[in-house]
């Protein structure tokens, strides 16, 4: 087995330099916006993620060592294997990410990354602290190891995937050359992913290659006539890292405690984010449906501005 470096540790100085560069560029051009408390919260979440990776990452590592014995093939360390592993890992990433947006149990972990209303390079580092506890690594991390890719290779390409995703968290880079936008995940595609505009909700789950979204029907291009509004459907009123880390878990516990049947327990826990028994909350599906009906009504001649209307 070759001695593999940790791509994320190597990249950290680069991350810091690029954040400094984006801050200065943003100040000069207005094309990137940072707010100190938001920046601090995102960076602290990133540091906590690194620490938790060391503390809790052992759980996942032990799992991979355990399932390695069930590997179907012995793929080994050839260069082509690295390349294939990278592409397949990105495919798995797409599905893991898609489920992270559609199952509240996993959303409670991933929501942290989406919880800033800013979209700059510091947002890339706003990451959860408790990921291994969601057992996502069992459901999504096992496939490549069971096929026969060495666990260390899977971990290595997975880290490369995350390093790639750093630079796309910016408003400073406009749409790129067509062929790049066609194949790769870019700042433009990922801005859409972080936006809460109903048109953009739950779109562009890609890690490195946008082709998965095009293949599986979740692609949405960024439009000039619809600027992205970043954040989550119910934006946070706090910069407290502990609350950022725990808020959706607290929500799940509160909801499950109020559940009146097993169906409600499962819905609150494993249903889509925003699920409620009577549909009174805003899930992505409900928001998209409301948006579609509003557009149809507008196309039918109605003109609804955001102005306050006289009380009934």
């Amino acid at each position: 087995m070759p001695e593999l470096p940790d791509p994320i540790l190597i990249a950290i100085p680069g991350f810091i330099m690029l954040i400094v560069a984006e801050m200065i560029y943003g100040r000069m051009t207005g094309r990137a916006r940072f707010e100190p408390r938001d920046t601090a919260a995102s960076l602290v979440m990133g540091l906590g993620n690194t620490i938790s990776g060391v503390v809790l990452g052992g759980v996942a590592a032990a799992w991979f060592v355990f399932i390695e014995q069930f590997a179907v093939f012995d793929i080994g360390w050839a260069l082509w294997a690295f390349a294939l592993c990278f592409v397949l890992d990105d495919f798995v990433y797409y599905w893991a990410h898609r489920f992270a947006h559609t199952v509240r149990w996993w959303w409670a972990d991933h929501v942290i990354h989406h919880s800033s209303q800013h979209y700059n390079l510091s947002t890339a580092l706003r990451q959860p602290w408790l990921s291994p506890l969601t057992l996502k690594f069992i459901f999504f991390g096992s496939w490549l190891v069971v096929i026969g890719f060495p666990p260390a290779m899977v971990a290595f390409v997975g880290a490369l995937n995350l390093v790639y995703q750093f630079w796309i968290h910016t408003e400073a880079v406009p749409k790129m050359w067509g062929p790049i936008e066609a194949v790769m995940n870019t700042p433009s595609h990922h801005r859409v992913h972080h936006a809460t505009n109903p048109r953009y909700l739950d779109r562009n789950y890609a890690g490195v290659f946008i082709i998965w979204d095009r293949m599986f029907g979740t692609f949405e291009p960024e439009r000039e006539d619809e600027p992205c509004r970043y954040g989550i459907v119910r934006n946070l009123g706090t910069y407290n890292p502990i609350k950022i880390c725990l808020h959706e878990w607290v929500g799940i516990i509160k909801d499950v405690r109020s559940a009146r049947s097993l169906r409600e327990v499962i819905g609150y826990w494993l249903g889509p984010p925003g699920w409620s028994p009577d549909g009174s909350r805003d899930s992505s599906k409900i928001l998209k449906e409301r948006w579609r009906r509003q557009r149809e009504a507008e196309a039918g001649g109605g003109d609804e501005a955001d102005r306050p209307v006289a009380a009934e």
């Binding site: 950290i12 801050m23 707010e35 408390r37 938001d38 510091s122 808020h247 955001d306 209307v309 009934e312």
Partner: protein, 149 residues
Amino acid sequence: MIILVVGASALAIGLLVILNILIGGWTPARLRNEDEAAAALADGVFGFRAAAPVALAADGRGALAREAGGERLGLVVCLGDRAAVRALRPGDVRSIERDGVRLTLRLNDYTLPAAALRFSDAETAQHWAAEAEAYAGAADAAKGGAVHA
């Protein structure tokens, strides 16, 4: 090794935040008028249409409005250069305090536990304290969680 990485990262975070403070480039969010408050509500809660009158805090850092044709109470709280928006339903308000022109709503909301709005006159604060009453939790109201004027 990990101690070194954590220590260096913590230092880098501190320096980046200081750079962000020194370099500036953001302005605190402020709602300049009722239309902007209504737009913030519509952006923050898709489909929320504010009914007039919209109550705008004197400093433009918050607003309240009833929903047109709906039962919810819209709340905007500015936070840094952005805003957190809520459409409150009955039971979402834990307690209401009014002190002259100042109205404080404590909410059953983990990430937005309180909203303090300072209006230009005591009458407006009193009016919205009474409006918010309908959103106070029944249990809390019984324990004395209602208006303290």
